[in-house]
Amino acid sequence: MSLLPILAEQDPGELVKGLTAVGRGIVYGGAAIGPGIGIGIVVGNAISAMARQPESAGMVRTTMFLGIAFTEALALFGFVLAFIVAG
């Protein structure tokens, strides 16, 4: 069973709305993959650094937040772009 005949029967306005929603989902979902992995790596390494040297926890925490901020920026660009797509 093909999807195209079903799509062709729909009202074009509704179809555009639906496809826009799908596009937004893909944009944000795609943008969130890399930063998700990246933040995991940043925080994981920060935790092992803190566990090895608890006395340097303060410095590591500051650097960790910086690393998260830089990594997270890409996901946030995706979030904003999801609203701009077909805005």
């Binding site: 500051t62 937040f65 910086l66 901020a69 920026a73 946030l76 660009f77 979030f79 904003v80 609203f83």
Partner: protein, 255 residues
Amino acid sequence: MILGLEFPPISHLIEWPDIFLKDTSFAVNKVVLIMWVSALLAIVLFVLGSRKRALVPTGVQNVAESIIDFVDNSIVMETIGPDGRKFTPFLTTLFTFILFCNLWEVIPFVQMPANARMAMPMTFSLLVWLIFNVVGIAKQGFFHYFKGIMFPPGVPKPIYILVTPIELVSTIIVRPLSLAVRLFANMLAGHLVLVTFAVISAALWVKGVNLVILPFSFVLLVALTGFEVLVSFLQAFIFTILAAVYIGGAMHPEH
């Protein structure tokens, strides 16, 4: 309409009708009022805090001194160093103002972070962009500053073809853009998440069909409100510390 749930369009959540000076460029709406009140609160906090100057701080003075101490110790000293102390007043102002603007997100009957509109984060980040570029040019001289940006030391010569455009674009364009978008998108996302769970809770309460699952969405709403307080602090902190890192990078070039 999703499963009988009417979710308001996004323009209803962040666009507010004008109150004064309607239909002009200087129209005043809820976000502008929030910004004014935040600025006023920050001014009152520091004026009241610096009036008595007791040796052992109490009350308002204690709060004001802890904020300054926090910015001085964990932002300026960690990123710029002792000669960055002259930026402590600017960074403290930035931190306090952004924090107060963010915290309106969870205060009942207001519940709108002023930073969820692009205008304010953009102004902050343009200010930071101007300051770190001016500081870099004043400290190192125009050509030396741009040479430091475009030709970072310790890179093999042929790689400069690749590195120079990337570094130039990332310093001049991506830095202010990501600084503004980070604050804006975090506050907007937090606002939307809170609205989503509030709408779900309200719809379940009104319809009364699913009183079994209502507690879950309501508990999550309360928990996320607490989380958003944390995010407000964190975003104010991150914005300030990144501003400090950029200023520090302009003051102390790599050798």
